[in-house]
């Protein structure tokens, strides 16, 4: 049997003249944890609703574990464990009743149901509130119950729509760990607009913007697409800009700030070669007093912004929407960076995409 668990071919969804999804094609293989990344309204949830057969595409099709969503939606649904956005649950039910109901809907018999409930209770850590009414649970606990129902029939594919939205950093870390564990045996697609979540959880990233797939790569490979920038702070001098522009390998030099007798310059190189020594040498030769020199690689946030904001820039009508999306994404990135910093404080071994190499924080951060 092929190890392709999800194959989407030319998925398009139109709402009137608006294309929520535009010819999206991708495959997800067995055992992959794939992050579906994009700003709000990019088409992530639409794709998930199509894959779970909740809505039908206007064009294109998809197969779920070999079952076509048009020809055999029941088989496609049976192969999926789904957690929709905002974790809809029946608040008036007890967790135990709810899991029983979902297990019965999945066709489990009495014995199978008992075993399945025992397994998911342990797997998702819901034993302490198993006999509680769902409406009394915290957001994190509800998320666990949502995951438990998605896992009750041991599906080979898990589709999770923004599983960590609205969770505090501790809850998010717990759910992330759970998803990582689950992903060892299953194919997982999770949608998010949270970049740190993708970096920490997923092996592959699909970036979607305005309904179009604009990137399909590993988080590392995406981050490697970023340009390197050098930030130099020198004592103000007229020749500063020209001195660095002459250095071999420099593409452009921009004066970013000039105040209190200090000039901050931003140097963009033509390649990834390390220019720090050459820039230092140029400063010496031009008799410039170099106060700071920092090399910095663009991180996933910047790549994401470029991919999702620039994707439709040509369309003047859509430019306004894009600004909205970008500002939303930027706002989320700010939250995210904060979250990430908190996480790093708790996880000293966590790798960073930023490769800041300098003695002081960059001028950008200081601002």
């Amino acid at each position: 049997m092929s190890d392709v668990m999800i194959a989407a071919r030319g998925l398009t969804k139109r709402y009137g003249p608006h294309r929520a999804l535009d010819k999206a094609s991708f495959e997800v293989k067995k055992g992959e944890i794939v992050g579906f990344l994009g700003p709000n309204g990019a088409g992530k949830s639409t794709t998930m609703k199509i894959l779970t057969c909740y809505i039908a595409p206007s064009e294109g099709t998809a197969t779920i574990k070999g079952a076509d969503i048009w020809d055999d939606p029941i088989a496609a649904r049976a192969a999926i464990g789904y957690l929709p956005e905002s974790t809809p649950l029946y608040g008036e039910m007890l967790v135990a009743e709810y899991l029983e109901f979902m297990g019965e809907m999945r066709g489990l018999d009495r014995d199978g149901l008992r075993k399945a409930i025992r397994r998911v209770v342990e797997e998702c850590g819901i034993g302490s509130f198993y006999a509680q009414e769902i409406r009394t649970l915290s957001k994190g606990q509800k998320q666990r119950v949502g995951l438990a129902q998605a896992l009750i029939h041991e599906p080979p594919i898990l589709i999770l729509d923004e599983p960590m939205s609205g969770l505090d950093p501790n809850q998010a870390t717990e759910i992330r760990e759970l998803i990582r564990r689950l992903g060892k045996e299953r194919t997982v697609i999770l949608s998010t607009h949270n970049l740190s979540e993708v970096r920490l959880t997923c092996q592959r990233v699909l970036i979607i913007s305005k309904g179009k797939l604009v990137a399909d790569d590993t988080p590392e490979a995406l981050a490697a697409r970023g340009r390197t920038r050098y930030t130099l702070v020198v004592k103000s001098a007229k020749n500063a800009r020209d001195a660095f522009a002459r250095v071999k390998g420099v593409d452009s030099v921009r004066v970013r700030d000039e105040r209190a007798g200090e000039t901050t310059l931003e140097v963009l190189p033509t390649s990834k070669d390390d220019l720090r020594a050459a820039l230092f040498q140029a400063a010496v030769e031009a008799k410039l007093t170099l106060l700071e020199l920092e090399r910095r690689s663009e991180n996933l946030e910047v790549i994401f912004r470029e991919l999702t904001v620039d994707a439709g820039a040509a369309d003047a009508d859509e430019a306004r929407d894009e600004d909205d999306d970008a500002s939303r994404a930027r706002g989320e990135e700010d939250d995210e960076r904060e979250e990430e910093r908190e996480e790093r404080a708790g996880e000293p071994s966590g790798a960073s995409d930023d490769e800041a190499e300098g003695a002081k924080p960059s001028a950008e951060e200081e601002e």
């Binding site: 057969c53 029941i74 649904r77 929709p84 809809p88 649950l89 008036e92 066709g107």
Partner: protein
């Protein structure tokens, strides 16, 4: 079928987890209790025909309350998405929801049984028309509930579903019957044909006319079909 029963039993239990079931049962039994006995003692006849009229009036108000949340609330809260993405057919969801409401309606009717039993203890009650009457209000109730389910499938707002069902049920159960004497000719014939009360009347007299049974079953079937189509239409919206 198994899915239908699972959905019906969850919905049925959820009625009793909230106030809906108790309110509906109180309204039904309250209306019968308050309005049945005074005229019964005045007439001094061992008959419960008047009770079935009151039950029909009660379902005009109780039906919308029973059905307003069936799909509208599931849509609003998002649980419908999870339910529909189970390996289940839309028809199973519709029938399951309908059976739950019908089950509660049957419980309400069963709860009213002490009234004919009390009447029987007071006089010589003919049980034939009683069973036929119960059969009639069960069918009438099922038609109102199916209409309510259809309206619940159009919207994600329970209040909208409630008022649309209430208005339709009011017209079909009460208004058409009241207005028929004021019409003449074919309008009166059509109004009489559509009126739920005119179809209930003969059943409550103990006459099981297949035309009345088919009428109620047709309205029920049509409304359930509309609900099914409305639920299915979300795929193409």
């Amino acid at each position: 079928m198994r899915n239908t029963i699972t959905i019906a039993s969850r919905q049925f239990r959820s009625y009793f987890n909230g106030p809906v079931a108790y309110v509906v049962l109180c309204v039904l039994l309250g209306v019968i209790g308050v309005f049945f006995w005074p005229p019964f003692f005045l007439a001094g006849r061992a008959s419960v025909r008047q009770m079935f009229t009151l039950v029909a009036y009660a379902v005009t108000f109780a039906g919308p309350a029973l059905t307003m949340g069936l799909l509208a609330e599931e849509k609003r809260s998002g649980t419908l998405e999870l339910l529909i993405t189970m390996p289940v057919r839309e028809a199973e969801v519709i029938v399951g929801k309908f059976l739950a409401a019908l089950g509660l309606w049957a419980v309400g009717l069963l709860a009213s049984l002490p009234i004919p039993l009390a009447v029987a203890s007071l006089g010589n009650l003919d049980w034939g028309p009683v069973w036929a009457g119960y059969f009639g209000v069960f069918l009438l109730g099922s038609a109102v509930l199916a209409i309510g389910l259809a309206f619940s499938s159009f919207t994600d707002n329970q209040i909208v579903a409630f008022f649309l069902t209430l208005t339709t049920a009011f017209v079909l159960v009460l208004l058409l019957g009241w207005m028929t004497p004021f019409f003449g000719g074919s309008v009166a014939t059509i109004a009489d044909f559509l009126s739920f009360m005119s179809h209930l009347e003969s059943l409550a007299r103990g006459v099981i006319d297949t035309r009345d049974v088919i009428y109620f079953l047709s309205v029920t079937g049509f409304a359930l079909m509309v609900a099914f189509r409305a639920l299915e239409s979300r795929r193409w919206s």
